[in-house]
């Protein structure tokens, strides 16, 4: 498991108080993890802080699953 995935999972589990078993790469924040729109904003802010990156709103809109977040963050960190 990649380091980014681990860190993303930790934030998601902490923030949403989610069952760790459910926080897979395919898990949708809204459909599977019961996040609301405000949770998504908070998660994005937490990702920004954790990885010291900026996630613009139009990118954040496309982050729907744990895997989406990992892929986006991986891309940012490599660029």
């Amino acid at each position: 498991m990649s380091e980014v995935l681990e860190r993303v999972r930790k934030i998601v589990i902490d923030h949403l108080d989610a069952d760790p078993d459910k926080v897979t790469e395919k898990a949708s924040f809204i459909d599977d993890l019961e996040a609301d729109s405000l949770d998504i904003v908070e998660l994005v802010m937490a990702f920004e802080e954790e990885f010291d990156i900026e996630i613009p709103d139009d990118s954040a809109e496309h982050i729907l699953t744990v895997g989406d977040a990992v892929a986006y963050i991986d891309g940012k960190l490599k660029s």
Partner: protein, 246 residues
């Protein structure tokens, strides 16, 4: 009831009569109070009067950068996260519309409404993390009733009410409430500018037969800032001696 021990509050416009009254009451209920305003010497006097648990974070609310930085500055001064935001600072630039200059409009909207948005945005971030917050906008009866010569002021105050209702819906699930207090005519430097005839005319419209005092508004602020008011959000509490029953 209404114990604010352990809470940190920022009061803007604390150099004014209303702001100072609100700051005194929050402080008396046990809150740490950060006083903001433009006149540092007046803030220092009030802080000295209050003693422990009173801090200063001066800012000019017509300067966007200063407004954006004020919540962080206040938290640094108090050494704790902000629980209570009282957006009290307000200005008037009255004039009938045909005589109202662009800058009179812009300044009033910027200081009264835009600063509220900027402060609330900055405060909400920490409040959401901590799952607790009380945001209180001091608006005005004229934001609901209108008043000739105050198109700019009335628009800014009505704007605060709409803003508060929208924000209240956004953050209610995070245990953050957003409410307004709408004072009627309160004895203050602002009402001192009225002449006797104007004052007499106003009093005929107030069933209570007197101008309000800063302490009347402060009591409402203490209530809305308290944990006990947690189920009250998106509301405007009118404190006006009955002059408008809305």
């Amino acid at each position: 009831m209404f114990d604010l021990t352990g809470k940190t509050a920022l009061v803007t416009g604390a150099t004014g009569g209303l702001g100072a009254a609100i700051a005194r009451s929050l402080h008396a209920q046990g809150a740490k109070v950060v006083l903001s305003g433009t006149r540092e010497s007046v803030l220092a006097e009030l802080a000295a009067e209050l003693g422990d648990n009173a801090f200063i974070a001066a800012a000019n609310l017509s300067d966007s950068a200063q407004v954006d930085g004020l919540v962080a500055k206040a938290e640094e001064a108090a050494g704790s996260g902000l629980d209570i935001l009282i957006a009290n600072a307000g200005i008037t630039r009255d004039g009938l519309i045909l005589r109202m200059k662009d800058e009179d409009w812009e300044t009033v909207i910027k200081v009264n409404l835009e600063a509220y948005f900027r402060l609330a945005r900055a405060a909400t971030k920490g409040m959401m993390k901590r799952r607790y917050g009380r945001i209180i906008g001091i608006t005005s009866v004229v934001g609901v009733t209108g008043n000739p010569g105050q198109t700019n002021y009335a628009a800014s105050k009505a704007g605060m009410i709409g803003f508060s209702k929208a924000l209240a819906q956004e953050v209610a699930s995070r245990n953050i409430t957003v409410n307004c207090i709408a004072p009627g005519f309160i004895a203050s430097p602002m009402t001192d500018e009225l002449n006797d005839a104007q004052k007499a005319a106003i009093l005929t419209k107030i069933p209570a037969g007197a101008l309000g005092e800063g302490s009347d508004i402060a009591a409402a602020a203490v209530y809305l800032a308290s944990a006990e008011a947690g189920y009250v959000t998106g509301q405007t509490l009118h404190v006006n001696g009955g002059m408008a029953m809305i």
